[in-house]
C-alpha cells in the first residue's frame, strides 16, 4: 500500500503542476463510469517446487468489471486520468495435465484473487476542443495490488492442503487509445482500449512447502463509459 500511496501522491502533484497555464474550458473535472472488458494475455512459467510434476501451468479467463475514473483537464489537449476498476474476481485455472495424481487439474479453478489496479494516465486529445468527436492517446503507470487471494477447495486438493497465496504488488507501464464523443457540455461517451503490464511472482505455501511461478500478464481492457463533467 505504501507504493500505491506514493503513485497516487505523484499523480496528484503532477496534476496540480500541470493545471498551471492550461487553456480553460467550461468544465475541468470529469468522472466516468462504465464497463471494463478485461482480457488477460497471461504468460507463466511452469509451477516449480517440491512434489510438482512437470508441465503444470496456469491460465486466467477474461473478466468484466465496473470501470471508474476521474479526469482532470490540464489544457485544451492534455488530460490527467486516474482510472480504477472495481476489483474483479479473477479466477486462476489449472493448465496442463488432466489430473495431478488422481486430482483433476486442467481447467479447474485453483485460486481466486481480486486486484486493485489504479492507473494514472496522461492523455492527449486530438482535434479542436470544440469538436464533438475527439480521439486520444495516453501513457502512464499502472499499480497493481492483489487482495483476497484464496486457494479454492480444488486448489487445495491439487496443492495438498490449505494453501496461502502470495502475490506481491506490481508497477508497470500503461497505455491507452480511445475516442470521446461529447453529447452535451456535461455528458460524454468514451470508448478506449488500454494495455498495461503486470509482473508478479506467485508463491503458494502448503504446510511449509513453497511452490512458485513467475507470471507476466498484459491486461487488455476494452472500456465503454459515460462521463459527467463539472
Amino acid at each position: 500500500m505504501e507504493r500505491m500511496t506514493a503513485v497516487l501522491s505523484v499523480a496528484a502533484l503532477l496534476s496540480a503542476a500541470a493545471s498551471v497555464g492550461r487553456a480553460d474550458s467550461e468544465y475541468d473535472n470529469t468522472v466516468r463510469a462504465g464497463v471494463y472488458y478485461l482480457h488477460y494475455a497471461l504468460s507463466a512459467d511452469d509451477i516449480s517446487g517440491p512434489y510438482v510434476p512437470p508441465g503444470l501451468n496456469i491460465d486466467v479467463p477474461d473478466v468484466v468489471t465496473l470501470y471508474l475514473a476521474y479526469v482532470r483537464k490540464l489544457s485544451s489537449h492534455w488530460d490527467f486520468e486516474f482510472a480504477l476498476g472495481y476489483p474483479p474476481l479473477t479466477k486462476t485455472e489449472g493448465k496442463g495435465p488432466a489430473t495431478v495424481g488422481s486430482v483433476p487439474y486442467n481447467g479447474q479453478v485453483i485460486s481466486t484473487a481480486r486486484w486493485v489496479a489504479p492507473t494514472v494516465l496522461f492523455n492527449y486529445e486530438f482535434r479542436d476542443p470544440s469538436a464533438s468527436l475527439r480521439p486520444y492517446v495516453g501513457v502512464g503507470i499502472n499499480y497493481t495490488h492483489f487482495i483476497d487471494k484464496q486457494s479454492t477447495a480444488q486448489g487445495d486438493a491439487v496443492s495438498g492442503g490449505p494453501t496461502s497465496i502470495s502475490l506481491p504488488d506490481s508497477v508497470g507501464p500503461a497505455a491507452t487509445v480511445g475516442l470521446v464523443y461529447r453529447l452535451t457540455p456535461r455528458w460524454s461517451f468514451y470508448a478506449s482500449y488500454s494495455a498495461s503490464m503486470v509482473n508478479a511472482r506467485l508463491t503458494a505455501n502448503t504446510a511449509g512447502v513453497i511452490r512458485t511461478t513467475h507470471i507476466e500478464f498484459w491486461p487488455l481492457a476494452l472500456v465503454v463509459s459515460a462521463g459527467f463533467s463539472f
Binding site: D148, A157, G161, G208, V209
Partner: protein, 508 residues
C-alpha cells in the same frame, strides 16, 4: 471544494476496495517442540491416487508389475501425506524428522471408517534426501511396496524417514540406536494420529489397532519399537520385524571374525558415527578405526546427497573391502590368528582387500574383546545365546547395549520374524535364529519364525510366500547367475516378507 471532494472520494474508494477481503491461510504451524508434535497441521498431501491410478502406476514398470502381482489388486486408493514432526536425538535434545502418512481412500468398506495402523520402519538408505512419502520418486521402491501391500488394502500406514534424513534437523543418522529410533517411530505415530482428523478424508479414523513392522534396519527398529511400546504400556496388536540385525552384538562379532556381510563398507560408517555421537567412546580420532585414506571425512560421509556408487568411484569408500587381506597375527594365539584369516567363503572373502576401510589394529582390538567377553551366539551358539557379560571395547559396548536381547524383555503380543536363511547382508541364523533361541521358552504362537527360503509345507499359511520367493530367486539365478542372486538376495526377500506380514496381521 467540490473538486477536492471528488478527488478524495476516488481515493477513499480505492482504499476501501484495497481493504476488502482476506487472504486464505495455510496449515497451522506448531509452536511446541514436544515429542510427537506435528509441525504443520494438516500435513502436506503429496499425492492422491485412486485404486485404478495406483494399479496403473504399478503396471508402468516391470518391478511394479511384480509388486502388484504379489501385493494383489489395490482395493483402496491412497492419499500420501508428508508429515514433519518433533522428536529427539540420542541425547534427548529436540530434533525434527519427517515421514509418510498413507491413508486409504475410496468407498469400499475396508477403505474408510475406523482402520488399523501399520507403523513401518524402512531399510537402510544411503540417500540423505530419502523421503518415503514421495511416491512419485521411482527410486522410492519401499514407499511403493508398503503403499501397495498395506495402504491399498485398507491399512493406514505411518512410516518415518528417520532423523538424519530429508529435512531432519539432525546432521547425522542414529543408525541402529534402538532407544532413539523407537522414540522416532512412536513420535511419528503420535504426529500421524494428530493429523488424521484434518486429512482430506477425516471419516477415515484410527481403529486403535496397531501393527508394527519394518525391514532390515527397519526390522531392528520395529523390534525396538515393540519393546518401547510395551515399556510404555501400549503394546501393539501384533508385530512383524523382518530381516533385522536384532542380535546386533552377535552380528558385528561375526563380521569382525571375518564373516563380512554384503554392504559392510556402507554400514560401518553409519554405525560408528551413530554410536560415537551417542556415546562418545568409539574412537578418539577416526583414524583409530579407519584407514587414513578414508578417515578424514568418514564421520559425515553417510547418508549422502551423492549416490553411493559415486562415493565408491571417488575413492571415498572401498566398495567391498572392509578388512585388509593381510590379516593380523596374534602372537601365541594360532587359533584366533586363523579365525581372522581371509575366509574361504567367497561372499565373506569379498570383504577383504586393499585398500580397505577398517584398520587391522581396530579389528584386533575388537576381536580380542570378543574373545575375552564372548557373545553366546558367536562363534558357536551357546544355550540361551546370552549377550557378552562385560564387553570393554567401545563398539562392543554399544552393540551390546543396542542388542535386542538386552533388557530381558519378551514380546507380549504375537510377533512374526521373517527373513531368508541365505541372507548375506543380515545373517538369518545370527539374528533371527539367535532371537528365536533367546525366546525359545515362550508360549507357542507368541513368536513365529518364517524362513522364506525353507521348503513350503502344504497347508502352511506362508507356503505361497515361500514358493513365490524361491521362484523369484530361481529367476534371478537364471537371469544373472548365482553371484547376482547373492547380491540381490536381501532386497528380494523384502516384498515376500512384507506380504507375509500383512497375512499375519490379518489374523488379528
Amino acid at each position: 471544494m467540490i473538486k477536492t471532494g471528488c478527488t478524495l472520494g476516488v481515493l477513499v474508494m480505492a482504499g476501501m476496495l484495497a481493504a476488502c477481503g482476506s487472504d486464505s491461510s495455510s496449515a497451522t504451524v506448531a509452536t511446541s517442540n514436544a515429542r510427537g508434535t506435528l509441525i504443520y497441521d494438516p500435513p502436506l498431501r503429496i499425492a492422491s491416487l485412486t485404486a485404478a491410478a495406483l494399479q496403473s502406476q504399478l503396471s508402468s514398470t516391470a518391478s511394479g508389475q511384480q509388486l502388484a502381482e504379489l501385493a494383489g489388486t489395490p482395493v483402496c486408493g491412497v492419499d500420501f501425506y508428508y508429515e514433519q514432526y518433533w522428536t529427539v536425538d540420542p541425547v534427548g535434545a529436540p530434533a525434527t524428522a519427517s515421514g509418510a502418512l498413507m491413508v486409504p481412500t475410496g468407498t469400499a468398506a475396508q477403505c474408510t471408517g475406523a482402520r488399523p495402523i501399520v507403523l513401518y520402519a524402512h531399510g537402510t538408505q544411503t540417500d540423505k534426501a530419502f523421503n518415503i512419502a514421495d511416491v512419485s520418486n521411482t527410486a522410492n521402491t519401499e514407499g511403493a511396496l508398503i503403499a501397495a501391500v498395506f495402504a491399498a488394502q485398507g491399512y493406514i500406514v505411518v512410516a518415518t524417514n528417520y532423523t538424519g534424513y530429508d529435512t531432519s534437523s539432525l546432521s547425522y543418522h542414529p543408525f541402529l540406536n534402538g532407544d532413539q529410533q523407537s522414540k522416532d517411530m512412536i513420535d511419528s505415530l503420535t504426529a500421524a494420529r494428530a493429523a488424521l482428523p484434518h486429512s482430506f478424508t477425516p471419516a477415515t479414523t484410527d481403529s486403535g489397532q496397531l501393527f508394527v513392522t519394518g525391514y532390515s534396519e527397519g526390522g531392528y527398529v520395529a523390534m525396538a519399537t515393540v519393546k518401547a511400546l510395551q515399556a510404555a504400556g501400549t503394546p501393539p496388536a501384533a508385530s512383524a520385524p523382518m530381516s533385522g540385525p536384532y542380535a546386533l552384538e552377535a552380528l558385528v562379532d561375526a563380521v569382525f571374525y571375518g564373516n563380512v556381510n554384503i554392504g559392510s563398507t556402507v554400514l560401518s560408517p553409519l554405525l560408528t558415527t551413530s554410536y560415537q555421537r551417542a556415546y562418545g567412546n568409539i574412537y578418539q580420532y577416526t583414524t583409530d578405526v579407519y584407514e587414513p585414506a578414508y578417515a578424514p571425512n568418514i564421520e559425515s560421509l553417510l547418508p549422502s546427497i551423492m549416490p553411493v556408487d559415486t562415493l565408491f568411484q571417488q575413492g571415498k569408500l572401498p566398495e567391498t573391502a572392509l578388512f585388509n587381506s593381510t590379516t593380523p597375527v596374534i602372537p601365541g594365539n594360532p587359533l584366533l590368528t586363523a579365525a581372522l584369516a581371509v575366509p574361504t567363503n567367497p561372499v565373506f572373502a569379498a570383504g577383504f582387500g586393499s585398500p580397505n576401510l577398517v584398520t587391522n589394529d581396530y579389528r584386533l582390538s575388537y576381536v580380542l574383546d570378543a574373545a575375552a567377553n564372548p557373545d553366546g551366539a558367536v562363534p558357536v551358539p551357546q544355550p540361551g545365546v546370552p549377550l557378552a557379560a562385560n564387553p570393554q571395547q567401545g563398539l562392543r559396548k554399544a552393540t551390546n547395549l543396542n542388542d535386542m536381547r538386552n533388557g530381558n524383555w519378551v514380546p507380549m503380543s504375537p510377533m512374526l520374524m521373517c527373513g531368508g536363511d541365505q541372507d548375506p547382508t543380515v545373517f538369518f541364523s545370527v539374528d533371527t535364529g539367535t532371537m528365536q533361541a533367546h525366546w525359545a521358552a515362550l508360549p507357542t504362537g507368541l513368536v513365529t519364525v518364517l524362513d522364506v527360503n525353507a521348503p513350503p509345507t502344504p497347508g502352511d499359511p506362508f507356503a505361497a510366500v515361500q514358493a513365490g520367493f524361491q521362484q523369484a530367486l530361481a529367476n534371478l539365478i537364471a537371469a544373472g547367475g548365482p553371484q547376482a542372486a547373492v547380491e540381490s538376495y536381501h532386497t528380494t526377500v523384502a516384498p515376500f516378507c512384507t506380504v507375509a506380514a500383512r497375512g499375519f496381521f490379518s489374523q488379528f
